[in-house]
Symmetry: D3
Subunit: 245 residues, 6 copies
């Protein structure tokens, strides 16, 4: 029932060290232009780095006779069931239809996810209990905060089916990565090469930024021409790339 | 696989004779305020009356490596499979995420649905082939027209799961009714009583409208007070209600 | 209680003969750039010409314990009261907050307004009973149609207070003019001069259009330079302006 | 003229200690699903707790000949009059039509409200003077900041009439409560029971959160089954609920 | 100054016989997913077929001291200059920033364009003089109608520079094709092959539709498998494809 | 090629000391109601003060065959060219069509602009590399953050042509001023008088705020009547205005 997806620990560690700006650039180079979830930001930008396979949850508009408190709290409710079913290391990612009128989750259920070892939480809707969430030290991403429980507007329907989150396709098992810029969705068959090339791109970017800060023009440097590629290789060989970390 | 839902032919006939304005009023009286799909209109207002159980289809945002013409035309594609799977007498209703950048269906697939005896088609997105659809003589409802196939924006994911269509919850088997005002979603357990009370309400409304056209004030008439209720009963007894049809 | 505003019959007749395109141009020349209500269109473009002083009605979001059918139908409900209070010759214009989820009025109440001699109806929301309204032969303007009564979303609050309709300020007694392009709001102290100058502008426009249809460039003609002004005066003097009507 | 509404000081104190998340949950249980104002956030989340009866102010779109600086600054202007008329302890809540093109109020007028003992300020539009407002130590809620005075877009029309704020009905005298999640509107006849039940709900929530942080599953705990209810009662009896405050 | 782009008359004729639904499908197959302008519809669906190279015009928001009637009517105003500069056979296509508060053009200037032999007009904003435009018998596409001249909201800036129209890139000289579904933008280097393949696709579609209307399933037919391809070839060879035109 | 516009250093210094709230008020008094860019906020409100002539850059929607990484990085790409062409002391202001799906610029290119002595950066779209931008100590304004490069959605088209930024007209050389409230656009021929009157208005505002904080009513004070004008003059004469700075 728990549909756990594996992610190689080395891959996970590599992805934790590269940013979503670089990851989405690498995906665009491979023809995937729509992998970043717009307007979803971290609750706490100091605890925004997050990587894990997607565990998805979809919502539909509420109907008043179904979406009542008694039903919503039943363990069989798809949302409640998901809280206990997301495998450790996975990211719970929700298709809340962009609704900002209610909060999909509050501090109690998110504290439970944190305790269970879940890697993070993403919604294209809102969350509740803003202050408490800011103090959890846990990667949580949303489009805003709303005090009411979201069942006044939407109710969970299916778990671990393909969803759209903020206009981006998410399949169960897709690799979800988050940082202070937001959240990107990586098809698992591309994750290893994207991670590898992103790490190299970030090393080049650090070299470029250092040159720029010292007055170099971006022409011929960003991206580097042959001369600057050679300079970059010398910089890497001299161990400066690592000391710049 | 085809998940056919029964609808009593007498109930169906009764629902075909009442409008969505009356049906949604009856649902509001029962606490269901969100059953009408806003901004979805009939392609041909002369062929808009439609009643049938819902066969649902959901969509997610497209990913460029999956949503290609070759994949979209496979019989196993959820959209293509749905065209052949909707049971006769049912309404195909789609959660197109409100996207107007592409057409969910065009004249060929809708002609096939018509041939198969499907009761009608509803999307909260767009359709293709506007001119041909206007000439089909078949109940089709959408938010607009767009020339490209919708897979450039969204792709079908699941059939016969709960969906949201234009912000309204739709469960497979819900009774979908359409007319020139638009489309309303009726939970099946309420359909019989809603149909009965709607038919009576429309009879009263015809009585009221007749009085209004002759100069009566709406106070005490709409809804009728005791005196006007008695006048209505005499009007019904005299057989005028039926001749007004 | 009925707050009737006078409009000079000659002024009214003059305004009935000029279009909203010309009227809004004249208002812009006087510094009023925001007098046309965008995206509000006539239900029946053959019965769209309408002129009369504004009788306003505002709405607020519904609260579930107040906005119930029993309360909405009371003669003291502000909407119901307005139906009987709009003075003949006036236009009922509603600030429906742009909500398209329900219909502010249906055929019965609008038939009553027509019977009472009201000049027309405008809402920046939706109306119910599309087919019946199209057959009333009465000037009615809206942003769309919706089957449910609007009290599932909004409820009337105040009559004859300043409102905003589709982003335009409307004061009780403002002159409301409608045609196939839509609805324009004219401050009463400007109505006479705007009507006079609009009538003259339309006469010039007919002259210009005639020349354009015969191949004239718009440079020097639209607006006319001295030579074309003289040609226009000869055209008027020859009585051709009237025969072009 | 000042329309002061009483609020029992004990009730006010109780409401100051419960959050809007809990208050809106209690209102939903009573059938009121639309009492939270979405996307309105506190200017200073450390000074967001606020409770008081509503003093309302509505706006309409500006007309260029009326909305000029000289008129806007007159003491008879509805906005200026409201600044001096809001009774101490009340919340000034504005229906700014969601407009973000101008600021409804700036630091001088809000400093005046603070001096006068007003409980707080809410708008569904924008405010001016962001930096100064963040330093006032006063509960102020808005949807954003804009430098121009709002009269370039909207102008105040009526005070203390029913309004909609961010899609929520607000009647003068409704109890407005704010915290870091946002603002909720409580009908006064429900305020006492909602406050009482919310306080109890928050005590239960603290118990639940504590158990969750120590590893308990949410099934059977949130909401508590019989066993956990008994544990909760023992926890309360042992005085731990208060020490957890 | 007139920047005329050639289009081969044979290509133009071929494009006039295929629809935008087919053209956009062919473009998607070539990796161009965003060539159809959403929500732009023909004023008169009976005069919607249109093909010609793009002559572009861009707009910026108005500034009150510049966008006055006297300036707007000068022959040097970019919009007025464009009316006389669009080469015959070209399509005037405007980036009106999606603004629906004013009409970019009215009947006089569009009558002038028609007289000059321009192929059609497209805007992602609104137009004025709805009734007159419906009677011109000329291909005109817009998102709605508005009575005021658009200079109350936006003013023309540059002609024949790259623009976005309704979210689609348009370069001067791109081939613009319109029909009852809307408007599609074709890069000129692809126009010949897209036209040829679209014509063939439409012939196949007519074959498919005919089979569907007689009861064939879409599986194996749409698109055709080997057996149906052979049947199609026999149908073409028998001359039925042409008689179906 | 670099189109540098002069700004008098004294004027620049004066504008750096007044806020956008005051500047936009002064522009409204001169009939310019639409000079503030809504919903654009500083990345770092402590480094938001910025004044300089506008260097503009426009964008159009991307086409997949043009907007590829190789093309975007060419020195001839209009965006890349702009980075090196913005004259020192100028503000780079971009018409990103309000798109939030990608970041117009990231930390490397903005670091280059900072090094080159550019006064600041404004976009009505998003930027990349949120954390790095917050640490630059450089005035940067946007509507949000997005990880992907913006060429997946839009591509730069023209530099130093009139643009619209967030619905406001911007001509090359217009004076752009920013602070914690946002960004205002000042026509250069008005800049000197607007700056002078804004400085005086802010001095009056400080006087008013001081009186308000000590309990004065705003009536007769804001704006000051004759008595308060005299008191203000005494306050200025006593040197308190400067000590209040």
């Amino acid at each position: 029932m728990s549909h756990a997806f594996d992610i190689d620990p080395t891959l996970r560690d590599l992805l934790m060290r590269v940013g979503t700006a670089t990851l989405s650039s690498q995906l665009i180079k491979r023809g995937l232009r729509n992998t970043f979830i717009p307007r979803v930001t971290p609750v706490d930008s100091k605890h925004a780095r997050m990587v894990g396979p997607a565990y998805t949850l979809s919502f539909i508009p509420s109907r008043e006779d179904i979406a009542i408190a008694a039903n919503m709290a039943k363990p069989t409710n798809p949302q409640r069931a998901a809280i206990e079913a997301v495998p450790p290391g996975h990211v719970l990612i929700m298709d809340a239809r962009g609704d900002l009128g209610g909060g999909n989750l509050g501090d109690i259920l998110i504290a439970r996810l944190r305790y269970r070892g879940v890697a993070g939480v993403v919604t294209d809707g809102a969350l509740r209990d803003a202050e408490e969430l800011r103090n959890l030290g846990f990667p949580v991403f949303c489009r805003g905060f709303a005090a009411p429980p979201s069942y006044c507007r939407i109710m969970a329907s299916d778990a671990n089916r393909p969803i759209g989150c903020g206009g981006v396709a998410v399949f169960p098992g897709d690799i979800i990565a988050g940082d202070s810029d937001g959240v990107v969705v990586i098809p698992p068959h591309l994750a290893a090469e994207v991670a590898r090339d992103a790490a190299e791109q970030e090393r080049v970017d650090r070299f470029v930024r250092r040159r720029v800060d010292r007055g170099a023009s971006t022409a011929g440097l960003y991206p580097p021409n042959e001369g600057n590629k050679a300079a970059y290789q010398r910089w890497v060989a001299a161990g400066e790339a690592d000391s710049a970390l």
